[in-house]
């Protein structure tokens, strides 16, 4: 009996080991080569994009792992085109933020590995060391800054990437002209996203209420079913949904003011708290990206790839 049980268990273990495609694991015992899935973001060619000269002084922590293993593991939630999304095959990941991830990997001279997961799980995964960098449209927030090592913000000044607005029912567009018009209204935002930050900082002081949703699609359902009055999102996403809604919802003319965030304007990258060495290097890269409007290029390409409408 015992022998049979053992055989069964061994068979189970073997099948477990054989099923499944690539995934994560600790970088120390997984060779980089067999882990890479050929996906669109991996094929993103950064050779024609200007790159900064970065200085890495005694790398420590995760940065040392990245350089030693020659692979950087990025966590993302691919439900947010054009920033990050996944093709129908379920494995081809792409989007402007993932292009940026490839750019960062190319500058560091390492391979890029991307783990896709639910938005809620992204920060947990960097905290537990499952992944090394979280790129999923995060905004800077005080409590997040206390628990994670956040980079400076990156943004695009010439394209619509830095235009953030709200979706509202089409017949109510004229009701909202300033932030103050949202007083007493319920505004949905994806929890821990950039848009939660904008709503908290710019609409709640005016008397609006916020309804957090786990996924952006839930926000759209909330808006179209009348459970909330508005949904905060980027301008291009708002235009895309408005375009597909048969005139039911529309982009508000009210746009968020991003200038108040200084160096943290735009999207930030998150790493585990204490990974200062890694974030210092990332900040050097992001400063160069912002100065040379590099994210603009990536954003426009991603917008094209997603077949989405640009704001301008």
């Amino acid at each position: 009996m015992f022998k049979k049980v053992m055989n069964t268990m061994m068979a189970a273990a073997m099948v477990l080991a054989m099923t499944g495609c690539s995934g994560s694991g600790t970088p120390s015992n997984t060779p980089a080569a067999e882990k890479i899935v050929p996906v669109s973001a991996f094929e993103y060619d950064t050779s024609n994009i200007k790159k900064p000269e970065i200085t890495i002084r005694n790398p420590t922590g995760v940065l040392k792992d990245i350089l030693d293993n020659g692979v950087i593991i990025v966590a993302t939630a691919p439900d947010n085109p054009p920033y990050e999304w996944v093709y129908e095959d379920g494995t081809t990941l792409t989007g402007s933020e993932l292009y940026l991830a490839k750019y960062i990997a190319d500058i560091l001279g390492v391979e890029l590995q991307i783990e896709q997961m639910d938005f809620n799980a992204v920060l947990t995964s960097v905290d537990t060391g499952k992944t090394q960098l979280a790129m999923a449209g995060f905004g800077w927030k005080k409590d997040r800054d206390e628990n994670f090592q956040l980079s400076k913000g990156y943004h695009s000044s010439t394209s619509g990437a830095s235009c953030h607005s709200l979706l509202v029912p089409a017949d109510k567009v004229d009701d909202y002209k300033t932030f103050a018009d949202f007083a007493g209204k319920t505004v949905a935002a994806q929890a821990s996203s950039l848009h939660q930050m904008y709503v908290e900082d710019q609409l709640i002081p005016e008397g609006a209420e916020m309804e957090l949703v786990a996924g952006f699609d839930q926000g759209v359902l909330n808006l179209t079913s009348g459970k909330v009055d508005a949904l905060a999102t980027s301008c291009s996403v708002a235009l895309q949904y408005a375009d597909q809604s048969n005139g039911q919802i529309a982009k508000s003319t009210v746009e968020f003011d991003l200038s108040m965030y200084g160096a943290y304007e735009g999207t930030v990258v998150a790493a585990k708290k204490g990974e200062e060495s890694l974030i210092e290097v990332i900040n050097q890269i992001l400063e160069f990206v912002n100065e040379n409007a590099i994210y603009d290029i990536m954003y426009k390409q991603a917008l094209d790839e997603a077949g989405m409408i640009d704001v301008q």
Binding site: M1, G23, M117
Partner: protein, 221 residues
């Protein structure tokens, strides 16, 4: 808003088909290996040794008393941390592992009731013929128990088909994951109804099969 349910289904049916295949595959793996592990857990649970049987009942209670989604998070994030030897497991394997463990707890209870339902006289007769305890279990009790519990196991498979929808949280390609894929095409409400319809059809067909099987098995009684 946007295109209707039927239009979306006609345009994207291969996605839903792939998703359904994923769902059936994960549920099958979970129940198959869950059953094997479940037999072991059931036997541990019925051990005369108090310590052994307590361990078994803690295992069953923990896995049945906590939500599967929580188990998946723990399996995915913390098992490789706690047991470095298991860090070779991929995301998919971690999620499948948690499905198997969860299923084994439910299946072990099915087996336990099935084994208990076999008349005590069978054990006594076998033992008095000089068969060992394990031999009795293997040759006399389990074959009869398995026949009794096959319908319950099939129902566990049907339940597992619905449970695997949680694997979509970890972006495994199953039916619920098609929601994420289509949300990326700005289709947010239509997939929900299509997915619900597919689950309903599949579970109804399988339930009908289970009923037919029950009828067939009862013939020999």
């Amino acid at each position: 808003m946007g295109p209707g349910i039927i239009e979306v289904f006609l345009q994207y049916w291969p996605l839903f088909l792939n998703g359904l295949i994923g769902t059936l595959k994960y549920a099958f793996i979970a129940v198959l290996f869950g059953s094997m592990l479940g037999i072991v857990v059931a036997i541990i649970n019925m051990s005369k040794n108090k310590i052994v049987s307590t361990i078994g009942s803690i295992y069953v209670n923990v896995l049945r008393g906590t939500p599967l989604l929580v188990q998946m998070y723990i399996a995915y994030f913390f098992i490789p941390m706690a047991v470095p030897a298991l860090s070779f497991l991929s995301k998919e394997q971690c999620v499948i592992l948690s499905l198997i463990l969860n299923s084994s707890a439910y299946v072990s209870e099915i087996f336990r009731s099935g084994i208990n339902a076999v008349d005590k006289g069978q054990t006594e007769a076998a033992r008095s013929l000089g068969m060992s305890a394990s031999h009795t279990m293997q040759k006399i009790i389990l074959p009869q128990a398995v026949k009794n519990i096959l319908p319950a196991l099939a129902n566990e498979y049907i339940a597992m088909i619905k449970e695997t929808s949680l694997a979509g949280t970890f972006m495994l390609y199953e039916l619920m994951y098609t929601r994420t894929l289509l949300a990326n095409k700005f289709l947010v409400w239509q997939p929900l109804f299509i997915i619900a319809g597919i689950y309903l059809v599949v579970t109804m067909v399988l339930s009908a099969l289970v009923r037919a099987m029950e009828k067939r098995l009862s013939v020999s009684d």
